[in-house]
């Protein structure tokens, strides 16, 4: 761990279904906790100001920008990162499959965040229309693939469920 900036906090939470109980630097963002303390590198840092959505994860099933949440705020809650998404057979999640099939991935940097936002949307609204999908992804920027393929991947995943 790098030099501790803040006080120590004992965090107890669940990460991708497993219990975590450890002392952390209280000034860590959730994103730093995920990438540096837990070593889960699927979650990305893009803008660091909540605009791009590359750092989206689920906390208690709701999408949040992990760059703007403090790790301390995860205490007592459930975290799901892209590494925790699985299909029913333990393989790829339907969204991961349709993102591949539709070519919704180019450089891939925004993909984990876009998939987590889509997962949150479809959990809350399994019958999401194309308009709902567009609105659900307003907080996720993609600078190379464009949005058509991402939206159709989410649409297809919804149909395949």
């Amino acid at each position: 761990m790098e030099k501790r900036r803040g006080g120590i906090f004992n965090i107890r939470c669940a990460v991708n279904g497993g219990k975590v109980d450890r002392e952390i630097d209280s000034s860590r963002t959730l994103l730093e906790f995920i990438r540096e303390d837990l070593g889960l590198k699927g979650t990305k840092e893009g803008c660091g100001e909540g605009e791009c959505g590359a750092c989206l994860v689920l906390v208690d099933g709701k999408a949040v920008n992990s760059c703007l949440m403090m790790a301390v705020q995860l205490h007592g809650k459930h975290l799901t990162t892209i590494e925790g998404l699985k299909g029913r057979d333990g393989g790829l999640h339907p969204l991961q499959k349709t993102f591949m099939e539709e070519g919704a991935v180019q450089c891939g940097f925004c993909t984990p965040g876009a998939i987590m936002a889509s997962e949150a949307l479809l959990r809350e609204n399994p019958g999401a229309t194309l308009e709902d999908i567009k609105l659900g992804l307003t907080g996720n920027l993609c600078r190379c693939t464009g949005y058509e393929k991402i939206i159709s991947a989410v649409d297809k995943s919804r149909d395949s469920k």
């Binding site: 900036r5 209280s26 000034s27 963002t29 959505g53 709701k62 949040v64 703007l68 403090m70």
Partner: protein, 286 residues
């Protein structure tokens, strides 16, 4: 990256007990969407953040016989799922899709939105039109004031050192409403101008009106003259046009990176006319 130590009192009582023992360079941390953004940019100098995001005393939406009470720690997305909000607060309810993005709405609290005192705040603008009161507490001592009197300027409020926003009290009054926002894109943009209109109707006639605007004054603005004009008048195109002209005289926009003063002024009128038109057409369909 943030430098502050984060402490997490278990409840309000523990919070008031804790404060004297920690650095005076402290701030409250709620949803984090403004504070952590500033810290990530190296712009926050507090040594301690007191995390209030999980305080039970600040949560929940409830009703009394005469008002809806929204805890300051309620997330914006929770407002969207509340029957009390959709039933009693049509302007606030209409503003929710315009508030940032779905994930930021899961984080941002309505109390933090007001305490941040941004002139472009969608939440504060809508709540002003709803005639909300804000509840404040300092070491167990409470006071309340009209939300419109809470703001002193951009990022400035009447909050005293350590004083906490605990809730909003919005009177139940039978009204219809609209929230229109003009930004750089349809959703997830910061407004160039927003208009929140709440009207108590008596058939086709406006009984009372409450109009608030964002991004066209140093604070969320209550357009009192425009509202007074509308009271008692038939809601038709001619009166909507006059109201639009009046509101253009009430705003005091500036030119900044987001828009120009003249454009904002003009659009304040256009959006109000559209909002009144929308409410009027809905009324005909009732």
């Amino acid at each position: 990256m943030p430098n502050a130590t984060v402490v997490k009192p278990a409840n309000l009582k523990a919070l008031w007990k804790l404060l004297p023992s920690i650095s005076p360079k402290r701030k409250y941390l709620a949803g984090g969407t403004d504070l952590v953004t500033r810290a990530n940019a190296g712009l926050d100098t507090a040594e301690i953040w007191v995390d209030i995001s999980d305080l039970k005393e600040l949560r929940g939406i409830r009703e009394t016989g005469t008002a809806v009470i929204i805890g300051a720690g309620v997330r914006i997305s929770e407002l969207g799922g509340s029957r009390l909000v959709s039933r009693w607060l049509p302007v606030l309810y209409a503003a929710i899709p315009h508030f940032a993005s779905p994930s930021l709405r899961n984080m941002a609290t309505i109390g933090g939105n007001a305490a941040n005192a941004s002139p472009c705040s969608d939440g504060a603008c809508a709540l002003c039109a709803e005639k909300a009161w804000i509840w404040l507490e300092l070491k167990g001592k409470r006071r309340k004031l009209p939300l419109s009197a809470f703001f002193k300027g951009p990022k400035k409020t009447v909050l005293k050192k350590d004083e906490l926003v605990t809730a909003f009290e919005i009177p139940k009054w039978k009204h219809v409403g609209a929230y229109l926002k003009l930004g750089p894109r349809a959703y997830f943009g910061i407004s160039k101008v927003s208009v929140a209109a709440a009207l108590e109707m008596d058939g086709g006639r406006v009984k009372t009106a409450s109009i608030a605007l964002a991004s066209v004054a140093p604070v969320p603005l209550l357009a009192r003259k425009t509202a007074d004009y509308l009271a008692g008048r038939i809601l038709n195109e001619e009166n909507a046009r006059t109201a639009a002209a009046l509101v253009k005289a009430e705003v005091s926009p500036i030119t900044d990176i987001r828009s120009e003063a003249a454009y904002r002024r003009e659009m304040a009128g256009v959006l109000l006319e559209r909002a009144l038109g929308r409410i009027g057409r809905r009324g005909e369909n009732l």
